[in-house]
C-alpha cells in the first residue's frame, strides 16, 4: 500500500451518547529532518502534519503531528456517538500529500 | 534319522524367517537420522561462497559438545577429553604475561562487531573486531548486560587485585588465569556457551591481554 493509505476502524453500532474509539493506522515513513553533523547538509524529512476527524462533515477533533511520532502511526481518538452517519478522517503531510478516509456508523 | 534331520532343518528355516521378519520392523535405531543427512541439510542452507564454507567444519571438541544438550549432561570422560584438547590450544602474547592496556580492552569488550557476513547488507568489515561481552555478562555497574554468563562487576576488586600486589607472582597468576579463560573458555569450562575467542582468531593474544587487564586492573572502570 502506498504512503498515505490508512486502515480505519470504528464500531459498526453504538448507543447514543456512548464514547467510542476511532482507531486508525496510517502508512507513513515519518522521517525527521536530519542535518549531517560533519557537512552541515540537511536532508528534509517526510512526516504527517495534521489530522482532522469529522462526524457527518462536522469537525470534531484536530491533531497536529510532527516527526517525533514513529512510522506507520497507530492513532485512537475518542468520539461521542451522537447520530448515525459517516466518520471521516482527513490528513496531510509536509510534502503536500492530502488524503481522506471514511467509515460508516449506526447509532441507536 | 531322516525325520530328525528334516525337523531340524525346518526349525532352522523357521528361525531364519522369523529373524528376517524382525529386521523389516523399523527399530528405534533406524528412526534416528544419520550425520551425513544432517550435514547435507546444513550445507543446503547456506550461500555457496567458498570464502565462508570453511566455517561449518566442526573440530573435535565441537563434535563432542554437539552430542550433549548441556555441560551438566556430559559424562566425565567427555569433559576430560575436551579439557585435555583445549589446554593444548592456548597461545600467550609475544612478551608473555604482563599487564596490557585497559582502554583498548574496554573498546573490545563494548564492540559487537566482527565476524558477521551477509550478502544483504549488515556485514562487518574484515577489520572489525570485538567480543560483544555485554551480550552475556554484566561488567560495569549500571550498564545493561546479559545474564547468560556470570556477572563480572568489580571483578578485579573481588579478587583483591591492588596497585601493590598486581605485579607480584600471585597477581600475575590471576592475570594469566583470566587470560586463559577469555582466550579459550573451554579449557576450564568445556562446552560452555562462551566462544573460544583466541583459539578461533576472533581476538589476537594482545587483544585478549587487554581485555583481561580491563577486568582486573585497579584503575579500570570495572573496579571503580
Amino acid at each position: 500500500m502506498a504512503t498515505g493509505t490508512a486502515i480505519l476502524r470504528v464500531p459498526k453500532e453504538a448507543q447514543k451518547g456512548q464514547v467510542i474509539r476511532v482507531q486508525m493506522v496510517i502508512t507513513h515513513p515519518m522521517t525527521p529532518t536530519r542535518r549531517d553533523p560533519q557537512t552541515g547538509q540537511e536532508t528534509p524529512g517526510h512526516f504527517l502534519t495534521k489530522l482532522q476527524l469529522f462526524h457527518n462533515d462536522q469537525l470534531v477533533s484536530e491533531m497536529n503531528m510532527a516527526a517525533g511520532i514513529s512510522a506507520n502511526p497507530f492513532i485512537a481518538l475518542p468520539l461521542k456517538a451522537e447520530g448515525s452517519g459517516v466518520i471521516k478522517i482527513a490528513y496531510e503531510d509536509n510534502k503536500g500529500g492530502k488524503w481522506e478516509k471514511t467509515a460508516e456508523i449506526t447509532v441507536k | 534319522m531322516r525325520k530328525t534331520l528334516f525337523l531340524g532343518l525346518l526349525a532352522i528355516g523357521l528361525v531364519g524367517i522369523s529373524t528376517a521378519q524382525q529386521k523389516k520392523q523399523p527399530t528405534k535405531k533406524e528412526a534416528r537420522v544419520k550425520p551425513e543427512e544432517v550435514r547435507q541439510v546444513l550445507l543446503s542452507g547456506f550461500e555457496q561462497d567458498p570464502k565462508f564454507l570453511w566455517k561449518i567444519e566442526q573440530d573435535e571438541s565441537q563434535r563432542i559438545c554437539s552430542q550433549y544438550p548441556s555441560m551438566e549432561a556430559m559424562p566425565p570422560k567427555a569433559v576430560q577429553k575436551v579439557i585435555e584438547l583445549e589446554n593444548k590450544n592456548i597461545v600467550y602474547p609475544q612478551w608473555g604475561i604482563a599487564w596490557g592496556d585497559w582502554k583498548e580492552g574496554k573498546k573490545l569488550v563494548e564492540s559487537a562487531r566482527g565476524g558477521r557476513f551477509a550478502s544483504y547488507g549488515f556485514s562487518d568489515k574484515f577489520t572489525d573486531k570485538g567480543g560483544n561481552c555485554y551480550a552475556c555478562h554484566l561488567i560495569e555497574k549500571g550498564v545493561p548486560g546479559g545474564t547468560m554468563g556470570p556477572s563480572l562487576t568489580a571483578y578485579g576488586k573481588r579478587y583483591g587485585i591492588t596497585k601493590e600486589n598486581m605485579n607480584t607472582p600471585e597477581g600475575l597468576e590471576r592475570l594469566k588465569m583470566v587470560y586463559k579463560i577469555v582466550y579459550n573458555a573451554w579449557h576450564a569450562y568445556p562446552c560452555s556457551s562462551m566462544p573460544r575467542f583466541g583459539y578461533h582468531g576472533a581476538l589476537s593474544p594482545e587483544d585478549v591481554m587487554n581485555i583481561a587487564t580491563y577486568l582486573l586492573h585497579p584503575e579500570s572502570p570495572v573496579n571503580k
Binding site: 502506498a2 | 528412526a31 547456506f46
Partner: protein, 277 residues
C-alpha cells in the same frame, strides 16, 4: 563452655557473611537494566492493544495473492485455501517431493504458477531484508496467509515419517556447535535457566510453551524497522549473529528448523502479527 561460644560465634559470622553475599548478589539484579526491561514489557503490552501496523501488509497481501496466481497454490488443505494453512505446516508435499514450511511453499508456488525462476524467487523473498519501511509484496503475502489462521492451534503432524525426519534433523542442528564462535541455536534458546541477552529476555525450547509463544506471532511487526519480519528473515538474522555463513531462504535448513520449532509449538494458539522492538 568456651568451645560452644566460639563455635556459635564462628557459625553466626558465617551466616552473616552468607546473607551479606546474597544481598550483594541481589543488588546486582536491581541495576537499572531491570527497570529498562520492565519499561520495554510495558511498551509491548500497550502495543498489543489497537491495530497492529502489520495489518497494512495483510491488506497488500490479499491483492498480491491474486496477482501472483497463488489461489491455485495448495498449502495442504486444497488450492487457494488459506484458513488453517499455517497451523498444519510444515508438511510433506508429494507434488514437490519435499517437506515444506509456509515460506518454502509460497516460493515453490511462485515458481509453478507465477513463472518465476528460483533466482527471481530468492530476490523477491529477500527484497526487504536490510531495509526499513519496505512495502514488500512477499512479506505481504506471508502476512496475509499467516493471519488467515488466527485463533487456530498449531497441529504439525509429527507422525508423518518425512516430517518427523526433518524435525529430528532440525533438532540436531539446533544443538550442534558450529562456526568460528562455537554458537548454535541452543546457546541462547535452550536450557532451564532464565537468561537474557543484553536487555532482552530469551525464550527456551527446553522450557515448555515458550517456543510456541515465540513462533505463534510471526510475521512480527518490528517498530525499529517499521516493517514485518518473517520467519526466514528471522533465521537469516540469527544465523548472521551466530557468525555462520549467509543463510539461503527456502532451503532444507529452513524447513528443518521450522519443523523443529513448529513441532515443539504444537498446541499454541496463533496470534499473528506480533509486535516488538
Amino acid at each position: 563452655m568456651r568451645k560452644i561460644l566460639l563455635t556459635s560465634a564462628v557459625f553466626g559470622l558465617a551466616c552473616a557473611g552468607f546473607l551479606g553475599y546474597q544481598t550483594v548478589k541481589a543488588q546486582d539484579q536491581e541495576l537499572s537494566p531491570e527497570e529498562e526491561i520492565r519499561l520495554v514489557q510495558e511498551f509491548n503490552r500497550m502495543m498489543a492493544e489497537g491495530i497492529n501496523p502489520g495489518e497494512i501488509w495483510a491488506e497488500m497481501g490479499k491483492e498480491a495473492f491474486k496477482k501472483y496466481n497463488l489461489d491455485k497454490c495448495d498449502f495442504g488443505l486444497g488450492p487457494g485455501k488459506v484458513e488453517g494453512a499455517l497451523a498444519q505446516l510444515p508438511r510433506y508435499f508429494p507434488d514437490a517431493k519435499r517437506v515444506m514450511d509456509l515460506e518454502t511453499r509460497i516460493g515453490w508456488c511462485l515458481q509453478q504458477y507465477a513463472g518465476m525462476t528460483p533466482e527471481q524467487v530468492k530476490k523477491f523473498a529477500t527484497q526487504c531484508w536490510g531495509k526499513s519501511q519496505c512495502m514488500g509484496e512477499y512479506d505481504a503475502i506471508v502476512m496475509y496467509v499467516s493471519m488467515a489462521s488466527n485463533g487456530q492451534k498449531f497441529s504439525v503432524n509429527l507422525n508423518d515419517p518425512q516430517v518427523k525426519r526433518m524435525y529430528e534433523i532440525g533438532k540436531q542442528i539446533y544443538y550442534a556447535r558450529i562456526g568460528p564462535w562455537d554458537f548454535n541455536c541452543a546457546t541462547c534458546h535452550a536450557g532451564q535457566k532464565e537468561a537474557r541477552i543484553r536487555a532482552t529476555k530469551l525464550w527456551s525450547a527446553d522450557r515448555p510453551g515458550e517456543a510456541g509463544q515465540a513462533v505463534s506471532i510471526f510475521p512480527k511487526y518490528l517498530v525499529r524497522w517499521s516493517q514485518p519480519m518473517t520467519m526466514h528473515y528471522r533465521y537469516a538474522e540469527c544465523i548472521r549473529q551466530m557468525r555462520w555463513p549467509t543463510f539461503e531462504p527456502h532451503s532444507d535448513l529452513a524447513v528443518a528448523i521450522s519443523a523443529f520449532l513448529y513441532g515443539t509449538a504444537n498446541g499454541t494458539e496463533i496470534k499473528v502479527p506480533g509486535i516488538g522492538r
